[in-house]
Symmetry: C2
Subunit: 453 residues, 2 copies
């Protein structure tokens, strides 16, 4: 083989493909030494450009600043390289907007996060000045180590229809399905700084290029898909094995826990895409017909003021043999208005607050030093993970707030001094039902999905 | 630079060195197609040799079988490659013996473990037919993933003086200091099998070679050193920052918890290399003068029948301001004769048994499906690890039996329903004393060592 052939073979196939599509469908977003086609919005942080490389410099006492494209983009693949000075927070806006009728023109919309802090959420998706965190990178723990500090990182953002994927240094970080496709500008952010310590800190971008002619989603890498569109299952989720327990309409996955028979509409209402417990009707709990061992459960819940409910799992019938009626008990992801319902103050150290493992383990109130949000009167996102090795996780609005090992020595010690102390084998069946608790308060559920692991 | 020079540089320096020392000091242990200089001991498993490659084949109904060198070796470095069929357990004996006056000639001594099971302790050190596990690989968790299933693995055993190091596929696995250097044979083991399912399974060795002329220990990789020689600190431990809290003689690291003054000999005896609580003398607890935050604590303890003591850590004075006497409380590694002392049955789910976190978390009775040994009347090995991230581990005789996160939501929940419920900030001080509990029972301690992390 001659030298020329060897050289050719040494170029990875992926690079060749990307070079060929560059020739056809990619265009640079910034060139040379000019911000032609761009404008600055928000604060007064400094942006400079030289040979296509942008430097953003933080300035004390100014809000978040953005260098943004004048034109909007809907479906595209965006690639760039980025270098961030340690201590700075930054980001790249996409499908973003600035409108006089929304917070006085404040820049809002998707942000590809750039995070040099210990939290390490770079390439997570944040909805700037709007809904907050859509894809916190705790959903994809291994991706938290992808970011290279004070080195050039390669980034990729794919937006096709209502689906968004982000990549950092060649690995997928986020996978988001939103309610609908959004059109908007692209913008480079320099975050506001508190005090003046970080003044003069720099973030740099280069080789920004965009493909709007043939935008395609890369084959997903199987990471958790956060689907915000209520009561929908995306193709990506279906491929991962997700299915509905409640899709906004059908209740056929459920039965009454009282009779053990079919789902009874007594006390429960299906409407407006939600399954709602009627206040004071006493319809009783409902349980899934199927039982589950290792699974991921995704759901949204909406509490009225002072309301109480719960999502139980590894639910088994603990009635004595020959008893008249079943007695379904299990581990409970508490669903509660912590501020108003008195049970939040019962138990110990907050182990009856919302998203806690009821009467056993309190949820963390803060994660990464940020208060975990809980919205009364609006939808919250709950997530339950039961791994084959016995690890159980409770998630609330994107934050992992409880983690424990079912059946461990610590689990046994907790149960032995709880209200379940006298229940033999409590929470330890190999598989169990999922149960929605009717506490006679108005609480709604929707987008209840499960996949077995 | 010409092509020849480039080729030379491409050969790693280590390989060059090893090639050069091969020429001088290494000799093959097996050659060709003969077991000349070797003999089979123990069971009737089949050993064959072809072109220097040995195949051991398991046979039903026969005990552990060994193909052993006729001569003994004391100081040496041994290298070999090994391939093990999944399902089989095997090993390589070194410094081993077969004597008529020890268990009727049963082969005993150090074994380099070959472990295809989930436990994955390959290259750990087991004392065959004698003291059992000396270096379980749980001491060195990352090394549990080094073994390559049904592929050739490279192994290295270094014995110099009373120090032993093992390596697997280029990484250190074990580091053992024994009481004295031992001389003995080298032997290839085929383990006995239960039933006949594994009959015919194979283990293969090749490229066995030994260096007895210039045996040297490789620079240690900083893994945990298990030092069995009582009240000694090896150079390797000193380099890691270990120091004595009790070396068999000196008590100057300690003071009385009652007076807050110097160590009082009341109730405590120093003798025979041990620090012993006198039965019924009421001398009171002793605490270290220094306090510790992140540390590893290593100790040995010997319980008399029915005895009770404890090793407490993160010990702080919880007396009310102005109180007459101090009140030292902390997290307790329980030290107890579980079978005889009644406290083992108190608390819940065994959370007052030996090596448990007293009244909070029971120790695991089994690890890797093996019962954790506890020897009454003989020395046991205790180990406490307090990592900078808050993780605490209790070890008993080589097994990790308790692990928890100090100050976590689970920790708070456990304490809130324990005998410490009313102690403010229990166990949560940044640093704390180490305390040895005087429970008026005869319990001895020795080899108490600590290093700060």
């Amino acid at each position: 083989m001659d030298k020329f052939k060897r050289t050719l073979i040494a170029i990875p196939l992926a690079l060749l493909l990307s070079l060929s599509s560059l020739a056809d469908d990619w265009e640079p977003l910034l060139n040379g030494n000019s911000f032609d086609g761009w404008k600055q919005l928000g604060g007064e942080a400094k942006f400079t450009i030289k040979n296509g490389e942008v430097t953003g410099t933080s300035v004390a006492g100014t809000p978040n600043s953005f260098m943004t494209t004048k034109r909007d983009y809907t479906d595209f693949v965006l690639e760039f390289e980025v270098w961030v000075q340690d201590g700075l927070n930054s980001g790249v806006q996409f499908r973003s907007m600035s409108k006089p009728d929304f917070k006085d023109g404040r820049v809002h919309g998707y942000q590809f996060e750039l995070d040099t802090a210990e939290r390490a959420w770079t390439a997570g998706i944040y909805d700037e000045a709007n809904r907050g965190w859509l894809y916190p990178v705790d959903y994809n723990e291994p991706a938290r180590s992808l970011f290279k500090h004070e080195q050039w990182n390669t980034a990729r953002i794919e937006c096709v229809g209502n689906e968004v994927q982000t990549f950092l240094n060649g690995k997928q970080v986020s996978h988001l399905i939103d309610e609908k496709a959004i059109s908007g500008f692209i913008g480079l952010q320099v975050h506001s700084i508190s005090g003046s310590e970080l003044a003069g800190y720099k973030v740099r971008w280069r080789n920004l290029r965009i493909n709007t002619k043939s935008p395609k989603l890369s084959p997903p890498e199987g990471i958790y898909v956060r689907n915000i569109a209520p009561n929908t299952l995306s193709d990506s989720e279906k491929r991962q094995g997700w299915s509905f327990l409640f899709d906004g309409k059908k209740t056929n996955a459920w039965k009454s826990s009282k009779s053990g028979n079919a789902f009874s509409a007594d006390g429960w209402t299906v409407g407006d895409g939600a399954l709602t417990i009627n206040h004071g009707d006493g319809g009783g709990d409902i349980i899934t017909k199927k039982t589950f061992g290792s699974f991921e459960l995704d759901f949204e819940f909406r509490l009225t003021k002072g309301a109480n409910s719960g999502v139980k799992y590894f639910v088994a019938n603990h009635a004595k043999p020959g008893a008249d009626s079943p007695r379904y008990l299990g581990l409970e992801y508490q669903v509660l208005d912590d501020d108003v319902h008195p049970d939040a103050k019962q138990g110990v150290v907050g182990n009856r607050t919302c998203a806690s493992l009821y009467d056993l383990i309190p949820r963390y109130r803060k994660v990464h030093n940020r208060t975990v949000p809980l919205n009364i009167g609006d939808w919250n996102h709950g997530r339950l993970v039961s791994l084959p090795d016995g690890t159980i996780q409770h998630w609330l609005n994107g934050f992992k707030v409880v983690e424990y090992e079912r059946g461990s020595n610590i689990y046994d010690a907790l149960v032995a001094r709880s209200k379940y102390a006298d229940i033999e084998n409590f929470g330890l069946s190999e598989k169990g039902h999922i149960l929605l608790q009717d506490h006679n308060d108005e609480v709604s559920y929707r987008s209840i999905k499960i996949r077995e692991l």
